[in-house]
């Protein structure tokens, strides 16, 4: 266990150092993040200025959903994007072999090898927006709501990670899968809006098939005090199932890779 923790520290230390070699990039990321959030706010505002309440949610409540989306988007830029796009590169260049021969779990290595601090401001901004908008809507925040929301957000992060990891893993078969991560991003952008803003069939899709509801709407409801224990438990169940599936799928992919590559 100590080996894994120390390796993680070294992974992230070297990753940070690597990225500081390209400072302009970090600046551009910051500006892009701001512009992205601005644009999302603009789109939401286009609805609300006409007096449309998306899915029956108030303006502040909708902002909480947007905040959760922003936070998870930041998590994607910080941990998911830099690592999982690397899997595709490894497969293309044949360097996945080096990872497989290290005496450390390959899923651990591939998932956590890199760390892009450029995404952290977005995570903080998202959390900040959630808290501020929830307080504006409710008049105050209670500690048990905060705790429950933290749990649900962690579950959401785990679910999101599993989705990305499964898609990145398909690179072992298809090689050019940055398209698939684009499909995921596009589909998940539905998480900007509360799930009740969608017609009934899509609501079902976003809850059962593609768990967008669990990523942003459920945490928002929990923070707004509207969450129930059953939704929180469902969140945890979805996260656990997702993690198990990602592990099983990775082992399947490795079995294929070690049998088909020359």
């Amino acid at each position: 266990m100590g080996r894994y923790l120390l390796s993680l520290r070294r992974f992230w230390g070297t990753s940070l150092a690597s990225q500081l070699e390209y400072q302009l990039n970090a600046l551009i990321e910051l500006v892009a993040m701001g512009a992205n959030l601005g644009g999302s706010l603009l789109v939401l505002w286009l609805f609300y200025r006409q007096g449309v309440a998306l899915g029956g949610w108030s303006w502040n409540a909708a902002l909480v959903v947007l905040g959760a989306y922003t936070c998870l988007n930041g998590f994607t830029s910080t941990v998911l994007q830099p690592n999982l796009s690397r899997i595709v590169t490894h497969v293309q260049e044949g360097t996945l072999d080096f990872v497989l021969l290290k005496p450390i779990d390959s899923q651990f290595w591939l998932s956590l090898r890199s760390f892009s601090p450029a995404g952290l401001p977005e995570v903080l901004l998202g959390l900040g927006l959630m808290g501020w908008a929830a307080r504006a809507d409710q008049g105050g925040l209670q500690p048990q709501q905060l705790l429950a929301t933290a749990v649900v957000m962690l579950a959401a992060a785990a679910t999101l990670y599993s989705l990305w990891f499964v898609i990145a893993t398909t690179a072992i078969w298809f090689v050019k899968t940055w398209n698939a991560t684009e499909v995921l991003r596009a589909a998940l952008s539905a998480g900007r809006y509360p799930v009740s803003a969608f017609p009934a069939t899509l609501r079902l899709l976003f809850t059962l098939a593609l768990p967008v509801a669990f990523l942003t709407t459920v945490p928002a409801e929990t923070l707004l005090g509207r969450g129930s224990a059953s939704w929180i438990l469902a969140s945890l169940a979805v996260a656990s199932a997702a993690l198990v599936i990602s592990r099983a799928f990775w082992r399947l992919a490795l079995r294929y890779y070690t049998s088909a590559s020359s």
């Binding site: 080996r3 390796s7 072999d97 497989l100 005496p103 070690t258 590559s261």
Partner: protein, 330 residues
């Protein structure tokens, strides 16, 4: 107990078959045809600890596939395989800590940072504490003649320096078995010589087993007392290099610089003509008749200069396959 034991090793792949042109493309999109490719067929051998063995063969012969089977990156389609007491494709931790893989032209070092940073990551991953790691780095750096290169970003190093740094990173955890896949690929002559020297020293000092594939004969002749000749997935020869060239190609190559051009049929009396370029001739003469034939040449032909040496091994091997004088080992 042998450290590497392979018996009846087999590996076959399914590959898609695509014909050129637009018609071929359309067929490939709509209905693909698959071929079964046998990359390794029924290969058996044993290697003792501390040996340095070369896998020799043309491109696509199956050398890299065999090496990947031995290191656990591919699992076999059939046969038995044991390396350092483990089944490689299970990639258990004890096995992974006992081996290392180095591939020419592919790197595991972090591109933007100095090699030292990658070494620290490897030390953490292999569970080597800092003090011990520093000691080993010092030792290996001395053997590899690396100094301030360790603190320069990898992208700023030359190919030769990068390869040496890769070797350092690969050997930090003192593996007992080294798998090297074309390690000198793309390096200049000096760098190649230095890498070979290092590998020979390392084997002598630590007794590690070294398995090497290369299509540079110079690597094999300099390092490997024993070679395994692989062609079209089959093992054709397993033994010493000297014996290979001795026994199977009992010729020596004689280079003659003549005073004036001599007709081909005259020259053919002395031996087989490999190359005739005006007054410069290359002949292949059987070892047994060498001294007598040389005497004849010196007395009967206007010789300005003469050189006798072993024919290049590549030519021998090429010839062997062409003539079919070599049979696969049972």
């Amino acid at each position: 107990m042998a450290i590497v034991m392979a018996r009846g090793l087999r590996k076959s792949f399914r590959v898609a078959d695509k014909q050129p042109g637009l018609a071929g493309t359309m067929r490939h999109v709509l209905r693909r045809r698959w071929i079964n490719l046998e990359a390794v067929r029924d290969v058996s051998f044993q290697i003792e600890a501390g040996e340095v063995v070369g896998f020799l063969g043309g491109n696509g012969a199956g050398k890299t596939t065999t090496l990947k089977l031995l290191s656990g990156l591919i699992h076999p389609s059939g046969g038995e395989l044991a390396v350092a007491g483990h089944r490689p494709f299970r990639r258990q931790r004890a096995f992974l800590e006992a081996i290392t893989l180095v591939m020419g032209q592919k790197q595991q070092l972090i591109w933007d940072l100095p090699p030292l940073d990658s070494l620290r990551v490897n030390a953490a991953v292999y569970g080597i504490d800092d003090l011990e790691a520093r000691r080993r780095i010092g030792e290996l750096a001395e053997m590899l003649e690396l100094g301030e290169e360790l603190t320069r970003p990898v992208r700023k190093l030359s190919l030769g320096q990068r390869m040496k740094a890769e070797l350092l990173a690969a050997l930090l955890h003192r593996p007992r078995v080294l798998f090297l896949d074309e390690p000198t690929l793309g390096l200049d002559v000096n760098a190649q010589a230095r890498v070979r020297q290092f590998l020979a020293d390392y084997n002598r000092r630590t007794g590690a087993t070294v398995l090497l594939t290369s299509h540079y004969m110079a690597d094999i002749t300099a390092l490997c007392p024993r070679v395994l000749l692989i062609h079209q997935g089959r093992l054709f020869y397993d033994g010493s290099l000297a014996e290979l060239s001795e026994r199977l190609a009992p010729w020596r190559e004689v280079r003659l610089d003549l005073d004036r051009p001599v007709a081909a049929d005259t020259l053919q009396r002395y031996g087989e003509i490999e190359q005739l370029d005006g007054a410069a001739v290359r002949l292949l003469i059987g070892r047994e008749q060498l001294t007598t034939t040389l005497n004849q040449i010196l007395s009967e032909l206007p010789v300005l200069d003469l050189e006798v040496r072993d024919p290049p091994i590549e030519e021998l091997i090429g010839r062997l396959f062409q003539q079919g004088t070599l049979d696969p080992l049972p």
